[in-house]
Symmetry: C2
Subunit: 236 residues, 2 copies
């Protein structure tokens, strides 16, 4: 929260917080308005449903990434182009102890990695957040100290704002991809492609695949129409 | 400590820690070797006595800086040149609550400032450390992820290592400047330049002046000789 305020970010969503801690934090005297205004969801996919570029954070110490890996210093450019085409960007952090799970990461288009010493790669959560936001505030031209305040303002508004431009091709949100994935999964089941014991693995791979394709909104709608049609036929 | 390990820094000196906390931290099970090997001094000037470039950290929210201010993203170049001429660099952080005092800052050649939102400029200490070390590890070519491991290694060794090159002009250490300041102050007193009620203010200004001059080692030794001579005469 403090790091977000330091670097001019304001929209926070907390996923499945531990109830007692969450209430205590929100009702604490002097709790910052960021915390008071924070949204809360039960699942990650709800938190990022309206985002078009979802960036996970973590180290590669204990796993192989299933999506493209971008070193933090190179992330700014990717975010700027996403905002320029009217997209909405989410940066996702895992818990202090475990980081993001493999399932969490399957909702991410990219994995951002902070270059750290291989002997001690795992950062404290608050420090990782501070480093990421420092980097993004500086590189994306939204730096609080920038003389060009307009650029700063537009950048900030757009990170996490309602989509501002109906550009074509419009980016596709995480929620739209999830709806598409749901229909495709039903088709897979109805078509006998996905036996019961494979459904969870197939769901995981499908989620990653849909993000890798970088569809635009029109692609996604067309694909959804096709699979709905197929599903309808299959069910008759 | 964690951020230092994450970004490959290893030399820590703690100034006047609260005794009970310090012992507890050092004897804690699993206390990292960084903490075990940390030095401890009673005063800041002892901690930085062998450093040739002392960089304070903080915000400009509540004060006017008395030394040059460098935004953190521009600090890397300054540090590289200092290391290249055989210098030794210290980065100084204040306490969580108060930051560096005006007196602490009078020992600093530069004030490094993290560009933050004017509405919430003050960072959490651990987060400020992480952001500074992330920036320095990346910009100074000592990044853990750099392919050129030699550069990384040399850079790391030199930050805080014994002076490695007897280059000419050699940089002057903070301790040498303090000794010089001590003799000059005695001369001021003996010459009747500095009345009692002005001695503290004059000492402060002198400390800043000597750092602003960017003397090399030879300059400092020559100046020290001159003032010692003058003092000797004045005392007779």
């Amino acid at each position: 929260m403090r790091a977000m305020a330091n670097f001019g970010f304001s929209r926070l969503t907390v996923v499945a917080p531990f109830e007692a801690h969450w209430r205590e934090a929100q009702s604490a005297i002097g709790a910052e308005s960021l915390l008071q205004n924070a949204k809360r969801t039960e699942r990650l996919e709800q938190a990022i449903a309206d985002c078009t570029l979802v960036i996970g954070t973590g180290t590669l110490a204990h796993r192989k990434a299933e999506q493209p890996v971008v070193p933090l210093p190179e992330l700014g450019g990717r975010i700027i182009s996403e905002l320029a085409r009217g997209g909405r960007v989410a940066l996702v952090f895992g818990s202090e102890k475990r980081g993001l799970t493999r399932e969490d990461l399957s909702y991410c288009h990219l994995l951002a990695v902070i270059p750290t010493d291989p002997q001690q790669p795992s950062m404290n959560l608050g420090q990782a957040v501070a480093v990421c936001l420092y980097e993004l505030a500086g590189r994306s031209g939204t730096h609080p100290s920038d003389k060009n305040k307009d650029v700063a303002r537009v950048g900030h508004l757009e990170i996490g704002s309602e989509r501002t431009a109906k550009t074509d091709p419009s980016p596709v949100t995480s929620g739209e991809l999830d709806r598409l994935a749901g229909v495709i999964e039903e088709v897979m089941i109805q078509a006998g492609y996905s036996p019961l014991e494979m459904q969870s693995a197939n769901r995981h791979d499908l989620r990653l695949l849909l993000r890798r394709l970088e569809m635009n909104g029109a692609d996604a709608r067309r694909t959804l129409g096709l699979f709905r049609r197929a599903l309808h036929k299959l069910k008759r």
